[in-house]
Symmetry: D2
Subunit: 133 residues, 4 copies
């Protein structure tokens, strides 16, 4: 049985609230979060700041990996790389994340970020898995 | 003569304002931005969300590379990778960024993010350089 | 019509020959290369050196992207990131590569490297696309 | 006292021998290896294959991190990212590697690869540190 998700769909953490991030799906080794773009997300070029898309991926990865952990385990981001394909201005951003490898102490994940059904960014992350002390 | 920086130290873009990012230094091929940590930056573990540190690096890289561009040139993030060394809870985050390679169409940059004089993350980015149409 | 592949299945370049790399498939936006593991590929721990798997991905990416280029275009690696999941000792390594994004001047690719039907590494690359002078 | 380096300057592993890699310096948290370029290193464009430079970085990182390990510890590459700045054709390649972060289970390293005093590539790696069973 998957570990119960400790995070509410909304309001689960301050930074998620600040940028308007919400979770929609949470399955074993998979998560989906989304965000309604508004002007607060804009960079100096008046398109969505790369940090917004990155934050979706980082949060989505934590959630997807968390679903595969044992009761006494936690995870933390070691490193994430993100590639941007297209700038985005409005609409909804959806971030689909899946675990592609899970060892005892390392998890590797991929996120695809879509805007109006077009992939606008892809992220690749490595997380550490460790026991709660 | 370096290209004049079009960004005010504060209030230069909406997402920067949302997370409280300010620029302190802006030289040829170098930038420094900082941010006072508050609870709005927290992830579910009550430490600063990785997306906050990432956003400092992404913004700092744009600013550092911009200083080396010609009048009619712009730049955009192709990809950034960030490694986290230590979680942070309070104080000030400082992000030092330098251009380590600049070709005609590609710039490569590195950012070091410090909290209380300790390096807590390091980011490596590739930007495209292109002419304004 | 895809650009005709200028590379022979074998003997197409010196370094490929040195490590025993051969191409098996070459389609639009996709390539597959393989390699029979031998002791010359070993690192000090007597498993295949990470550089062997990396070289498969780098070469496979060039081939996959090349298939989508115009007659007067060439491509070059800007950066590649590779994650290792499992060490390998013998058998055949197969590297499947696909283009996941192609812009005018940038291509983004992913490679999966398999050993006995198990994914042992995954690589993510960014290439520049430019016109032959 | 640093852990004694178990690798001879030359002939320490098969793949290193295959590509002509030799170590020159080995200090605490630092290594330097080099390689005399020859035609066996060439890619289809008749410049040194990216896999050669990558292999220098991967091997150099293992050596640099190894110097900081305890007697019963080993390390393995989790992931490496490499950025290329310039193609190389002849002369000597030198790879300087330093540990930039060392935790209990994770090490982070950077390598600079030089050809005729010019930086031609830079690599960033994450290694796992674990006890010998």
């Amino acid at each position: 049985m998957p570990k119960p998700f400790p995070l509410k769909a909304k309001g689960f953490h301050k930074f998620g609230d600040l940028i308007g991030l919400e979770f929609r799906k949470f399955e074993r080794g998979y998560s989906q979060c989304f965000l309604q773009i508004n002007e607060d997300h804009f960079n100096p070029h008046n398109v969505v700041h790369g940090g917004v898309l990155y934050s979706m991926a980082d949060t989505g990865m934590g959630a997807a990996l968390y679903s595969l952990l044992e009761k006494e385990e936690l995870c933390a981001t070691i490193e994430i790389k993100i590639n941007y394909f297209k700038s985005v201005k409005d609409g909804i951003l959806i971030c689909d994340t899946k675990v592609i490898h899970k060892g005892k102490t390392i998890g590797v994940l991929e996120s695809e970020i879509l805007n109006e059904d077009i992939i606008v960014a892809k992220a690749y992350g490595t997380f550490s898995i460790f026991k709660v002390k």
